[in-house]
């Protein structure tokens, strides 16, 4: 199994498209960092406009490495699933396209093992991509903008965390993001099983993620209680929950707290459920698949 995983990782390593994702993340993060470095004050002014009538604050302190990372992760909300799909959707369909799939399944390994290994390789790729993102978006931003208290602006509330109460939240958020992106990888893998080349599953995954994300972000009462709670895209943004803090009755932030941990746990469980469902369906389908290429 380990040998098989090594082979899969080697294939990912050798594929040029693997590096598109890393380059894309570098480009997006750099663009946002440069923009905020030179015109961040007006962005903060816009974001804080709801408060500026009542309060005075120091924009230069608000714009710090922690907030910049949060802004970057928000902008990457749509993009990272697409980058994940580039690799995961290629896992089976790419082999079919190159004509190596039949050869692969003729080896003394079960098809279930093969799918599980391909999924594990995709997850490892996701971990590397997120680590790359953490280095660029978090640590480079900290180097450029420094650190200070972090403010998070929600639709109807304002959360402020002390500087030494932030880093662990990012570790948790990145860990959660790994699970969220693994859900996309599982979906891509499932779609990949049905295709003969990788373009179809990549486009299909992107389309599904975009449509469901739009549905998740829309405020239509009909969907709010019925459809949205079950869309995996609604739960992919639960990493933000680590930045929503609890407060005392007097509005004082409780250090080390998370506003609604049960909700994050529930979202986490739903994503795990989707991963099991998609991977399980991929295994089932692949086992039944008549491989001709």
């Amino acid at each position: 199994m380990w040998k098989l995983l090594q082979i899969e990782l080697f294939k990912i390593y050798k594929r040029p498209r693997t590096y598109i994702s890393f380059a894309a993340v570098l480009a997006i993060v750099s663009v946002v960092q440069i923009a905020l470095r030179y015109d961040g004050q007006s962005y903060i002014g816009f974001m804080m406009s709801g408060l500026s009538d009542t309060f005075e604050f120091q924009n230069e302190k608000v714009l710090n490495g922690y907030l910049v990372c949060f802004i970057i992760l928000n902008t990457l909300l749509i993009h990272v699933p697409l980058l994940v799909a580039l690799i995961a959707a290629d896992a089976v369909a790419g082999e079919a396209n190159m004509g190596t799939l039949r050869l692969l399944v003729s080896k003394p390994i079960s098809r279930t093992q093969l799918i599980l290994v391909k999924f594990t390789a995709s997850v490892l790729y996701i971990i590397l991509l997120l680590l790359w993102m953490a280095v660029l978006a978090l640590f480079v931003s900290i180097m450029i903008f420094g650190t200070n208290d972090m403010v998070v602006l929600r639709n109807d509330s304002f959360h402020q965390m002390q500087v030494n109460d932030v880093l662990w939240r990012y570790f948790m958020a990145f860990a959660y993001a790994t699970v969220a992106m693994s859900t996309v990888a599982a979906l891509s893998l499932l779609l990949s099983v049905f295709a003969e080349n990788s373009v179809g599953p990549i486009v299909a995954t992107i389309s599904i993620v975009i449509v469901l994300t739009i549905l998740s972000e829309m405020n239509i009462p009909l969907y709010d209680k019925t459809v949205k709670p079950w869309l995996f895209t609604s739960h992919m943004v639960a990493w933000k929950g680590f930045f929503y803090v609890k407060s005392t009755e007097d509005g004082e932030t409780i250090r080390g707290s998370v506003e609604n941990l049960p909700a994050i746990t529930r979202s986490f469980s739903i994503l795990l459920g989707y991963i099991i469902l998609f991977t399980g369906l991929a295994v089932l389908s692949f086992n039944k698949k008549d491989i001709l290429s």
């Binding site: 309060f55 990493w239 609890k246 007097d250 994050i264």
Partner: protein
């Protein structure tokens, strides 16, 4: 004749009362004038319905006549606009006010004199200030300031170690806050399914509580602090 006498008495009484109010203000002002500048260290607690903010360690810089700056040396502090009225000097040392004695009231167990200050200038940002003064200790325990554009501010002060300088150990600053809303398309919030607090769009009261632990008085402050 009776009408003339009544009128005379009324005018005389209000003149005497106004004079008494001015005398009391003069004494309070005299106490405040002992302070040319100060740097106060303390903690700031912000209590606004839509905000979750940690307690901030702050420094408050004051310089005569009415320059005030609140600084959070390490973290981010959101200071309510109009916080200049946290300094009583701003109200008491300003000229161009007519003082009216509005009788007495009680704050806790202390009987206080109520004095209303009306600006002479019609275009003044402050419409009315009401001071609740402890006539024995010559300290302002509470003030209410109604402004033209920013609603009403309220200050409650308690004194201890620095009462001789009329500098409070604790100040509670109440102010109006506007409703806070950002478009969901901008914030991309995670909907954790928790119930949202209903708002009716009307202004709410916010509070900032400043607890001072120490003052450095009349040691001089660099102008650059206020920039």
């Amino acid at each position: 004749m009776k009408i003339r006498l009544t009128l005379f008495l009324l005018i005389f009484t209000s003149f005497v009362k106004g004079q008494e109010a001015n005398d009391l203000l003069k004494k309070v002002r005299g106490k405040l004038e002992k302070v040319n500048d100060y740097v106060a260290s303390g903690k700031m607690r912000t209590n606004v319905i839509f905000m979750k903010v940690p307690v901030a360690s702050i420094k408050v810089y004051f310089k005569k006549p009415n320059r005030l700056k609140i600084k959070n040396e390490s973290g981010i502090s959101l200071v309510p606009k109009g916080s200049i009225s946290i300094s009583l000097n701003n109200v008491l040392t300003a000229d161009g006010y007519t003082a009216i004695d509005a009788g007495t009231a009680a704050i806790g167990k202390t009987e206080v004199r109520v004095i209303k200050l009306l600006p002479v200038d019609d275009n003044n940002e402050v419409v009315l200030s009401t001071l609740f003064i402890d006539p024995v200790r010559l300290l302002v325990l509470k003030s209410k300031t109604t402004t033209r554009d920013n609603g009403t501010y309220e200050l409650e002060m308690s004194y201890n170690k620095y009462a001789d300088y009329a500098l409070p150990d604790k100040v509670i600053f109440s102010f109006n806050t506007k409703e806070y809303k950002l478009p969901k398309g901008v914030t991309f919030d995670y909907d954790d399914g928790s119930e949202k607090k209903e708002t009716n769009g009307k202004p709410k009261k916010g509070k900032v509580e400043l607890s001072y632990s120490s003052y450095i008085i009349n040691k001089g402050i660099d102008e650059s602090i206020f920039k």
